[in-house]
Amino acid sequence: MNAFHPHLLDRRLGMARTGVWIVLGVMVMAFFRTQILGHGKYQLQSETNRLRPIPLPAPRGVIYDRNGRVLAENVPGYTVSLLPGPEANLRSTLAQIASIANIDSVEIERVLQRARRAPYQPALVLGDAPFRVVSALEERRVAIPGLLIQAEPKRYYPDTAVVAHLVGYVGEVTEVERTTRRFATVRLGGLVGKYGLEREYDDTLRGSEGIHFVEVSARGQMVREADAAANLAPVPGTDLHTTLDLDLQRYISRTFPAGQRGAVLALNPNTGEVLALYSAPGFDPNAFVGGISTSYWRSLNESAARPLLDRAIQARYPPGSTWKLAVAAMALKRGIVGPRSHMPIPCRGGLQYGNRFFRCWNAHGHGDLTLTEAIAQSCDVYFYQLGIKLGVTSLLEDANEWGFRGRTGIDLPDEISSEFPTGPEYYDRLYGPRRWTSAVALNLAIGQGENAQTLVQMVRLYQQLASDGRVRTPFVVRRAAAPGTSASLDLNPDQLAILRRAMIAVVEEGTARSGRLTGLQIAGKTGTAQNPHGADHGWFIGFAPAEKPEIVVGAIIEFAQHGTAAIPIVSRTIAHYLGLEETAATRMRVTVPTDSAPQPFQIPVLPDTLPPVIPVDSAVPRPPTR
C-alpha cells in the first residue's frame, strides 16, 4: 500500500499534531513555572544583578599629640578609577585619558594589573588626582566609559618630615598583607597603615568602608546611581591621642644638626610616655598618599642615608660609654663596689691585661678614681677592672635579665631587637670552649664587643636610672600589655642616687660639660660607638632635673666622631621642655674625650650578632604597590 494514502497520512498527521501540542504544552508549562511561579525569585536576582557596590572609603582617625594638635588628618581629595570591564576596553579608555591624567605606559600596565587582580571592583587609576585633572576628566565624562571620580578623604600630615617616622604613612594593601588575619577584611586596593603609628594602630584608625550602589551594565559600565536608600555610610576610624609633644618634636627637628643622620628620643621617665621621637634624615609621608611616585620611592630607597629607617628603634649601635652605667649598676647591685671604691690599678692611660694593652681614651691617664669620678671622666681603665671584678658570667646574666637582648616593646611596628650574647656559651661557640679569656669582659664593660643596642633600649635604661629603677615600657599611645623584660634594675634608692650623682658630675665637670645649663642640673652620659665603617657614632643620654627627673632624652648622631656632638641637642631639648632659656647651654670649650676603647675592636660578625651598621632590609617597609 502506498505510504501516502490519505488514511495513513491522516494517521501520521494526527500523531504529528499531538507531538506539536505536547511539546508546546511542555514549553508553556515551563514558562509558566519560570515566569509566574518563579517570578519573585528571578525578579530579585535581576534587581541585584544590576546593582554594583562601589566602596566608600572611611576617613581614617585623626592622630593628635598630647595637647590636641594634629599630627595626621584627612583633607578632601579625589580618586579616579575605572569600573570593571574587559581588558581591551580598559586599555582603550586608559589610552584615552592618559594625556589628561598624565599617566605613562608603566602606570597603565599597573592599573590593568590591578583590574586583573580584583576584576569586580573599580580599578584605581589616580589615588590622589589634582583638581585640574579631575575637572578635565569630568568635562569629558560622557565620552569616557566606566569613569568613576570619587571624592575621598585623603590623608594629610601637616608636619611632614618632622613626624614622619613616628606617625608613618598609609598605602594600598598588598596581596601578602591580605593573607594575614589582620588585614584579611580589607578589600583589594584598600588603604592600610604601612609604617609608624598608622600601621601599629591601623585597626583603630581604619574604620570601616561604606558601600554605594550604582546601576551597571553587564560590562560593568556605570549607567546611573542607584537608590540612595541602599547605600551604607562609612564608619570613620577612631581618633588616636598620642603622648607626643608636637612642640618639642618640632623643636628637635629644628635644632637637629643639619645634614646629620641620627635620632632623638625623649621619654617621661616616670611613665614611659614618648614625648618626642625624631629620626633624621626624614621623608615626606604626604608623598605616599594616593600612591608614591616611582622616582621618589627609588630616591628614598637608594639613598645611602636611608631616610625610611627609624634610627630610634630600627638601628643598632654599639652603646659605647653609655653602657658604663649599666655595668656600674650591675656592680652596685651585686655589692662589688660602692661610690667611693677605687680600683687596684690607677689609670695611667691604659691597662695591661694578659698579653694585650687596653688603652684608656685619655692617654695621659685619669689617675686613681672613685666610681663617681670614673663615670664622670668615663675612665676606661677603671671599668676594665670593674668588668674583671664583675666577671663575664654576671655581666651577661644581668644584661640578659635587664632585656638588653630583645625589644623594649614600644608600640611602634618593626622595632628591632638589641643584640647581646646570651651567656658564656656564646663565646664557647665563637672561640671554642676555654679558648677565650675574661678579656672579653674588658670590652663588654666599656660598651664594646658583642653588644649593639637600639636608641630606645638605651634610653629605657636611663629612664630606669632616672626613676625608681623600674621599667616603664616606652609608649606613644598605649603601654604594651606585658613588657618582655624584668620589671626593675633591682637597685635601692641609695644606689640609684649614687649613679645619678655620678651622671650629674658627667655634665657638671666630666665629659659633658658643654651640656651644662645654668639653673638646671642635667644628669647624663656620653658615649662613642665605634664604627669600623667610618667615623664613630656619638651618643648622649641625659635626664633632668637631676633630682626629680621629668624628661629623659637620648640622642645618637652617626659619624659624629664622639658623644660630645650629641650633647647640645639633648641639653637644649631638655631645657626647651622644662621651659628654660635654651641658649643658656654653656658654650665653653672642653677637652674632647675620645671616650672609647683603645684600638678599634673588630667585632666578630656572627649570624647571631650584627654588623654595627644597621641591617635595614627587614626594617624598611616593602615598596607600596600602587
Partner: protein
C-alpha cells in the same frame, strides 16, 4: 499578481507576516540598551533582509514543485560544496568566533551555508523518499537517507556547529516518519545515540541495553539488523568517553551547564542563568516593551540572535510568550495541513520537512532560554537577526505556499475559503 496573492493560503501567510512583524519589533527592542552596541540599529538591516526574503519567497512561489524536484540534486551538491568550502575558508562570527560557519569573500561575511544546506537536505530527502514505492521497512532502506542527511551533518559538525548538526538529524527522523517509516524502526535507528547519551551512567546504560534487547525480541527485525543495532549500542557505550573527550571544551561546558547551570555561573552557565533571570523577572505582563533591565544592561547575551526569545519573555511577560508560541503553533499547524493536502509525496515531504525545520529550531531555541534544552546557538525563525536563515525560512514558506496553491488548484476547495 494580485490575484495570485488572493489565492495564497491565508492562514499560513498571515501567521508568517505576524511572526515577522513580532520578530522585527522584538529585534528593535533588543537594540534598545543602555550600553551602546551595534545591535541598536540592527533592526534596519533586518528590514532589508525581510524585503529580500519576501522577494525570494515570491520567486520560490513562482517555481513549480516539478522544477524544484529537478533542481534538487544540484542545490544539494552546491550546498555540500559550500559546506566543504567553509571548512577551508570559513570564518567565525559573533559569539562563535572560533568556528568556521561563515563563507567570507574578501573579509566580507557572505552567509552561513549551513542554513541553506538544511533546506537542500530537506529537498533531497523528499526527492529520494518520494521516489520509493514502499515506505522504508528495514534498516537497509534507511542507509541512503542516512547518507543524504549525514553528509551535511558531518560537515557542519566539523565547523563545529553542534546545533545545526542536531537539526539535520531531527529533520531526517521527522521526514522518515512522514514517509511512513515504522516508529519501531526509528527507535532502533536512534538507539545508538540514546545508548551514547545514557552511557554517562553505567546503570542507566545497562537498563537501556536490557530494554533494547526486549524491544528487539518483540519487534523481530532481521537477525543481522538486530545484531548490528545491539553491536552499535554496545560500541556507543564503550566509545562514549572517547567521544566526550573529543568534544571541544566549550561544547562540554555547555552540556554540563545544561545539566546544572550553577557549575560555572560566570562562563558556560552565565547565558542560561541570565536568560532564566530575564524570562523569570518578566512575570505575567513583563517589564514593558524595550524596558527589560537584563537586556538593557547587557546581562542578556546574544539578545538579538540566540537569546532573542528571552527579550520577549522579559519585556512582554508570560502573555507575550503565549502569543509568540501561539503564532508558531499556528504556523506549524498550517504547514502540517498543507503537507497533508499536498498533491504529491515530494511536495508533502518538502512541506513536512520545512515544518520539521521550524519545529526543531523553535523547540531548541525557545527551550534553551529556560534551560529545557542545552545551548546550541541556533536561530529562532523570524525573530533572530541573520540573513542566511531568514532567506532559508523565506524559501521554505515560498515552497509551502506554492504547494498549498497547487493542491487548491487540484480541488482542495477548503484551502481558499
Amino acid at each position: 499578481m494580485l490575484s495570485r496573492v488572493r489565492q495564497l493560503d491565508k492562514g499560513l501567510a498571515v501567521s508568517v507576516v505576524a511572526l515577522a512583524l513580532y520578530g522585527l519589533a522584538t529585534l528593535y527592542s533588543a537594540g534598545q540598551t543602555d550600553v551602546p552596541s551595534f545591535v541598536t540599529t540592527i533592526w534596519k538591516q533586518q528590514v532589508v533582509w525581510l524585503v529580500l526574503g519576501l522577494i525570494v519567497a515570491a520567486f520560490t512561489f513562482r517555481t513549480s514543485p516539478r522544477m524544484l524536484e529537478w533542481a534538487t540534486p544540484f542545490a544539494y551538491a552546491i550546498t555540500l560544496f559550500l559546506l566543504l568550502l567553509t571548512l577551508f575558508i570559513g570564518t567565525g562570527a559573533g559569539t562563535a568566533v572560533g568556528s568556521k560557519s561563515w563563507i567570507a569573500i574578501g573579509g566580507h561575511r557572505f552567509g552561513q551555508p549551513a542554513e541553506l544546506a538544511k533546506l537542500a537536505t530537506i529537498l533531497m530527502l523528499a526527492r529520494w523518499l518520494a521516489a520509493q514505492r514502499e515506505a522504508p521497512a528495514t534498516l537497509r532502506d534507511l542507509i541512503i537517507p542516512g547518507i543524504i542527511a549525514g553528509l551535511p551533518c558531518l560537515l557542519v559538525l566539523k565547523q563545529p556547529d553542534l546545533g545545526s548538526a542536531i537539526v539535520f538529524i531531527a529533520i531526517l527522523f521527522l521526514m522518515l516518519f512522514w514517509a511512513g517509516t515504522k516508529p519501531s524502526l526509528l527507535v532502533l535507528l536512534a538507539s545508538p545515540v540514546i545508548g551514547l547519551v545514557l552511557a554517562v551512567s553505567t546503570v542507566a546504560w545497562g537498563i537501556w541495553i536490557a530494554v533494547l534487547a526486549a524491544l528487539l525480541l518483540w519487534w523481530r527485525p532481521y537477525v543481522w539488523e538486530g545484531v548490528a543495532i545491539m553491536g552499535l549500542n554496545v560500541l556507543g557505550g564503550v566509545l562514549a568517553l572517547p567521544f566526550w573527550n573529543r568534544l571541544a571544551p566549550y561544547q562540554q561546558n555547555r552540556l554540563l551547564a545544561f545539566l546544572n547551570p550553577d557549575v560555572d555561573p560566570r562562563a558556560a552557565g552565565w547565558h542560561v542563568i541570565q536568560s532564566k533571570v530575564a524570562v523569570g523577572s518578566g512575570g505575567l505582563l513583563g517589564k514593558g516593551f524595550t524596558e527589560g533591565t537584563q537586556k538593557r544592561l547587557a546581562f542578556l547575551p546574544a539578545q538579538h540572535t540566540d537569546f532573542i526569545f528571552s527579550v520577549v519573555g522579559e519585556e512582554l511577560g508570560f502573555v507575550g510568550v503565549l502569543v509568540a508560541l501561539s503564532l508558531f503553533a499556528w504556523l506549524l499547524f498550517g504547514l502540517l495541513r498543507v503537507a497533508r493536502k499536498a498533491t504529491d509525496p515530494f511536495s508533502s515531504l518538502c512541506v513536512f520537512g520545512i515544518a520539521g525545520l521550524f519545529f526543531t529550531h523553535i523547540v531548541e531555541n525557545v527551550g534553551m532560554t529556560i534551560n529545557l534544552m542545552p545551548i546550541t546557538g541556533i536561530p529562532l525563525p523570524f525573530f533572530s537577526y541573520g540573513g542566511s536563515f531568514l532567506l532559508a525560512c523565506s524559501i521554505g514558506v515560498g515552497i509551502a505556499l506554492r504547494v498549498a496553491w497547487e493542491s487548491r488548484q487540484s480541488g482542495y476547495a477548503e484551502l481558499g475559503q
